[in-house]
Symmetry: C2
Subunit: 222 residues, 2 copies
């Protein structure tokens, strides 16, 4: 019997935010598997969030959930905490790029606004976390992203890696080995229209990357 640890409202909101970034609404099932909880439990919590004093989500039976403005603010608050913490842990405690996530995941829920301000100021109000993800501003707006997936570049285009979208540490390590880390500069030297593979030059080496990778590396074209 698995111990059934309880998910915070903040986690619900954060995950709804992530699932709805594409404009679609989040399904009960998707949320459930993201949160490691049964769909029925999600339904219950979502109903509660929808009927909270200031409603945090918009919810219609069988139609999925969306965040209200209040809910979105709360979600961005947690995401800001998370990303600032990741940056902070890397910069001051020498955490590696792929170790910070779990620690930030726990701290994000308990730090004060004062703590948030202090670390933001100490780092000079960074725009992106160590993965390159955008950090919501202090007034809880998500900055516009001027990057595109590496997979959208073609031969002779070049750019600077902005961020790397990978959940698991193993993949992150792999990217790091390839040199595909934020700030890295690269140039596309070849494109295979058949399988969408790209040949890129990074530093002094030339490598071929499949779509599974090029769709996860975001670059700013230059």
């Amino acid at each position: 019997m698995e111990q059934t640890l309880t998910i915070s409202i903040q986690d619900y909101l954060k995950n709804i935010y992530e699932l709805t970034e594409n404009g679609e609404s989040a399904s009960t099932n998707a949320l459930a598997s993201k949160l490691n909880v049964k769909p029925a439990s999600v339904t219950g919590m979502v109903q509660k969030l929808a009927s909270a004093k200031p409603a945090l989500v918009e919810y219609q039976k069988h139609q999925g959930v969306t965040l209200t403005d209040d809910g979105k603010k709360a979600a961005l608050e947690v995401i800001r905490h998370h990303r600032l913490l990741e940056a902070w842990l890397v910069q001051t405690l020498g955490y590696s790029w792929d170790e910070v996530h779990a620690e930030a995941e726990k701290l994000e829920h308990v730090i004060s606004e004062d703590f948030e301000r202090r670390i933001a100021a100490a780092m000079g109000h960074p725009l992106r976390d160590p993965h390159g993800e955008l950090i919501p501003t202090a007034d809880l707006q998500m900055p516009l992203d001027d990057s595109t997936p590496l997979s959208s570049l073609r031969a002779n285009q070049s750019g600077t890696v902005q961020y790397v979208k990978a959940a698991d540490a193993e993949l992150l390590k792999h990217f790091e080995t390839l040199g595909l880390i934020p700030e890295a500069e690269l140039e596309v030297t070849g494109y295979s229209p058949f399988d969408h593979n790209l040949t890129i030059k990074i530093g002094r080496k030339s490598i071929v990357l499949g779509l599974n990778i090029t769709s996860k590396i975001y670059v700013k074209e230059s």
Copy 2:
């Protein structure tokens, strides 16, 4: 109707530790008022802790609680977290001496052992927190204290302030104003056997302190 926020087991253990440092056992009532919880709730939790897989407390009806070795280890773990965090927050984020407590109170429960090791190492394994309280060692022993209350000194004895035992920020500020902070050096110039007041010289000023203060300032005689 007050919202009834739930107290962690760690908080129970930490507070039992503090109440039993004098060798006595902790009463249900004392624990209840420390934790802002009703005595009946304490009884319930204490019974649970006593019958946990490895028992965390020793408990006999109407006799109060004591920590088992396992319970003491868990308590010292949290206390170590708390004190390391206070030191860390003061040193790296410029928190003032009296602001750190609340923040550390929240963080102490969620940081990983890795985080603990990192901040301890970054600070060079400090012995005391910013209040001067001893920090339990990495192997969870409470170091011996070689300090005595200022109230035990007499004329012509002098010492260095080790720590200041005050719960509320207001009192801490007062001590700070007087210059009674860790590392400060002072000399006792007078003693009134009637009311136990001490006249001390600290820096270039001379002040008279009552027992209410001298019993809370701990010094290392020199």
